[in-house]
């Protein structure tokens, strides 16, 4: 089981033209200038496998995750991230060789909180709870330290002894 493809459309700095990132097993390195969107890719992964906390995604609320139009354009109304896993070994508790997890957010009204969230597995409608269960069984959820966001190394290096013990508490 591994992450095979990532699709991003109108998610943060990724615009309306869907961006497809093909991955394989082993080590993939992403580089690029400051502000080019590297950490937004990690946010896209967290958006699907992580919990609800938008603070970790560097946005005030889900509306802040929708592409704002960039230099010239108007902001989009919805954003979508799709993760496709190769699942030959059935480590993901879904009976198909490829499993597609899609999370979509749509702005319904004017307010930043008027955003509706949609979850899909292989095209059929799902829920946050089902996503969470499947990801924790497959050990894909981000509760541990498998997604190390930018700045985490500095945070740990400068943390207090109590904060560090708190990390062990979470693991326990």
């Amino acid at each position: 089981m591994y992450l095979k493809e990532v699709y991003m459309k109108n998610f943060k700095s990724f615009g309306k033209q869907t961006i497809v990132v093909k991955l394989s097993q082993g080590l993939t390195v992403v580089s690029g200038p400051n502000g080019s969107g590297k950490s937004n890719i990690s946010d896209a992964l967290l958006f699907v496998v992580g919990g609800q906390r938008t603070k970790k995604l560097r946005a005030d609320n889900y509306a802040g995750l929708i592409f704002d139009g960039g230099k010239k354009g108007k902001g989009a109304k919805s954003a979508e991230v799709k993760l496709i896993f190769s699942n030959d070994d059935r480590k993901i508790n879904v009976d198909s060789d490829l499993v597609e997890f899609t999370k979509k957010i749509k702005q319904k009204g004017k307010g930043p909180a008027d955003v509706k969230t949609y979850y899909y597995i292989n095209g059929r409608s799902s829920s946050r709870g089902e996503f969470h269960n499947i990801f924790s069984v497959a050990r894909l959820s981000s509760d541990g330290y498998n997604v190390v966001q930018q700045g985490t190394v500095n945070d740990i290096a400068d943390s207090t002894p109590k904060q560090r013990r708190g990390i062990l508490d979470d693991m326990a």
Partner: protein, 164 residues
């Protein structure tokens, strides 16, 4: 609750003692609970001895040395609770080229048994990639391009000029 914390602590300390010497090439380090009897009353101390130096608390190491300790601690946590895929976003930010290379080699080795995505500004890390992507931005819209040959990495100079 307390037994569980002690079990976690012992495992992660063991992992840390194995990983840190590899990251700093020959030093040593360990984790220590301030209050072993009542662990929830105290914190977790990390002490390390970079090669050629005396043992110190993480607070008194240099910026790069602190990063090495923090990376070893993160990898010790990951080993205790393994996952099939990992993302590491600029963990090598404070490291010089020699120490960045050590981390890249280690992650490359770990990538034999799990999928790793590393985000880095250091070219030295790219040498170890099975697949390489360059991210760039134009008019506020991000794009990604797969790089076949590391020489092809668009030097940020061209990219940046394009930006304006």
């Amino acid at each position: 609750k307390k037994e569980k914390l002690m079990e976690v602590f012992e495992n992660i300390d063991l992992n840390f003692k194995e990983i840190y010497p590899k990251i700093c090439r020959n030093g040593e380090g360990y984790l220590h609970l301030e209050n072993k009897d009542e662990p929830f009353e105290g914190g977790l101390i990390i002490r390390a001895r970079p090669p050629g130096k005396k043992m110190r608390d993480i607070r008194y190491l240099s910026g790069g040395e602190k990063s090495q300790v923090a990376i070893a601690f993160i990898l010790a946590l990951q080993r205790y609770d393994p996952s099939p895929f990992y993302v590491l976003d600029e963990v090598d930010q404070n490291l010089d080229m020699v120490n960045s290379e050590v981390i890249a080699k280690m992650i490359k080795k770990n990538s034999a048994s799990a999928q790793f995505i590393m985000i880095s500004l250091h070219k030295i890390i790219m040498n170890f990639a099975d697949h390489l992507y360059a991210c760039y931005i134009k008019d506020g819209i991000s794009r990604m391009v797969a790089i076949q040959n590391i020489q092809d990495i668009p030097s940020y100079d061209e990219d940046e000029k394009d930006n304006e």
